[in-house]
Point group: C2
Chain length 351, copies 2
């Protein structure tokens, strides 16, 4: 069984001898070979030059027995393609070129050029598909409309992005126009990724947990549902949510195939509660779970990582539909020994 | 009915014509009169000089019809009393005097002086009790052992405090010794607050949501349970958790009387699920809920605030045991008009 087959089987909740494994942000700063490249190229070059993006994407696969490659890119390339650029501040953190404050500014962002602007992503994905062949799963990704709106309205990174929630309350018409525009752009972008050979797409609703519970549907989930409905039927979409543990059943009913959960979620309890959900059963909905080792553990000891990885694997024994991953992106200070311990524990475990 | 009676009745889940209302971090930077005082005194002076702390505590009550005063202080005065001081960095954020890294450092922190070191808190609370009389509830507070450990181990503020979770995995003996010491100190500190006249104590488990779900009991909740068990039987403890929505039933069984929930929680759904919990019912446990307007809304418009406040109030109609509050501390950029709109909407609502 190839890694790609394993990955797709897990998305389909088929029983497996062991789950596939990949790592959110697996191509990046914790790798010395990435830091070497980064010393010679800017982040923007690494993202926008297909050969470089493909090289960075493949780096972690040379080191670790990962079952999937995920394109090295950034969720903010989509706002950038719409005309709202961004950069990383010297002192850390993200700054957008401007803060989206008026409806007129929104109306000026052109939807027509998304595919053209993001052609470099398609080129990188095609390169990767050729290099990976049928052996390894290739993943695309993007931010959820809500999560992208958070950055666009705030004008950059933030501890808790208050402006998006303010706008949601104070001017729903403007809010909906923005989310609608982002959804249309994301549908275009995800179709481009699918045409370029990805096996699955992960949607990062990283800031979904900032929304007041009763507003999650209106502010975030409805837009994700629309996007999934516009993609080819059955195409595997993975929905990552941070702090959205209260919404698992609603997320499962949104059309996605996999829920990627943060480390606060008890995987077995989540699996059992979704499997026992009458409304989901009536619609014959089954979703796989992805996760959820705490990324902080990769700064502890290989022994601690091995123990906890094993515990997570055991918790999902006889619960088909598990993709092993972290509960959030890997940290730049993760130790290579800890990452190796995690991956080898998964690869050597037997269901 | 006085505000104090209203507050205590809500803690006891008794039906009321309207919930009591207070605001997490209600004494602070969003108030011009606080900023005036702050221009003449350092934060440390405002906290440590009882007359100043009492004055700052009372400022929001002169402006808004709040039912409770909460002592102006900081959760980090406890590590400070143990010998690990802190300050606010010029560029923002908290820095501890050092990072707690070894068991020897921990053993050097003296437990004996907690009461002496924190006598200024007792003096401020006695002043406040005299000034408030029986009219207004007076609240004390402290950090949970886990949340304090996060700062002590990290050496300051952090996006997600990885060191505490690393230590929990890598050296449970050291971790437990730290949490044990903090629990003993907190019991002392809370008893001092109770002797000084507080009507309730809020425990801030602000970083409880960073813990992997299955670890929440061992890393945080068990220590809170021990503290509550050491306080006078029935004394109202309010447990605030951010990102701990998955643990409401366990929190309710910990001995606290009120759960203060973040804005991601659907209040009515939480109430109903706790009321329908067979294990809690068997132990005759009923807890009140506190919350949970999104603090970001206080930067929107008074109209939006009024609508959402009303919606939250209606959602808890005929569900006794509600204390109106935010889902997290008020932001320094909150507008006074929005705060006024929130408080007056609560005060004028009728169950």
């Amino acid at each position: 069984m190839t890694s790609r087959e394993r990955f797709l089987a897990a998305c389909a909740c088929r029983p497996l001898d062991r789950p596939p494994v990949w790592i959110m942000r697996q191509a990046g700063r914790y790798l010395p070979e990435y830091r070497d490249l980064k010393a010679r190229h800017s982040f923007a070059e690494l993202v926008r030059q297909p050969e470089l993006a493909a090289e960075v994407t493949l780096q972690p696969l040379r080191r670790f027995a990962l079952d999937a490659a995920i394109l090295f890119s950034d969720i903010l390339v989509l706002p950038e393609a719409l005309g709202q650029g961004y950069h990383f501040r010297e002192e850390g953190g993200i700054a957008m070129e401007f803060r989206l404050e008026t409806r007129a500014q929104l109306d000026r962002l052109p939807l027509e050029n998304v595919r053209d602007q993001l052609r470099y992503v398609a080129t990188a994905l095609r390169l990767l598909r050729r290099r990976l062949g049928d052996q390894t799963a290739l993943l695309g990704f993007g931010g959820s409309p809500w999560t992208l709106a958070c950055y666009m309205l705030e004008g950059g990174g933030s501890e808790d992005f208050p402006r998006a929630r303010e706008l949601f309350r104070a001017d729903r018409v403007f809010f909906n126009a923005l989310l609608e525009k982002l959804s249309v752009a994301l549908i275009d972008y995800f179709k481009l990724q699918i045409e370029s050979g990805v096996d699955a797409i992960q949607v990062f609703d990283t800031w979904g947990g900032l929304i007041a519970g009763p507003d999650y549907e209106a502010a975030s989930l409805q837009w994700i549902r629309r996007i999934v409905a516009a993609l080819p039927a059955g195409f595997p979409v993975i929905l990552y949510g941070k702090g959205t543990a209260g919404h698992l059943a609603a997320q499962a009913a949104s059309g996605v195939r996999v829920l990627s959960v943060d480390s606060t979620v008890d995987l077995a309890a989540a699996h059992d509660s979704l499997a026992g959900d009458a409304a989901l059963a009536a619609q014959q909905i089954r979703v796989a779970l992805q996760g959820n080792l705490d990324p902080a553990l990769l700064g502890a000891t290989p022994l601690a990582v091995r123990d906890e990885t094993w515990r997570l694997l055991e918790t999902m024994r006889d619960r088909p539909g598990h993709i092993f991953n972290l509960g959030h992106g890997i940290r730049p200070d993760a130790s290579l020994e800890c990452v190796a311990a995690m991956v080898s524990t998964v690869v050597n475990w037997k269901n």
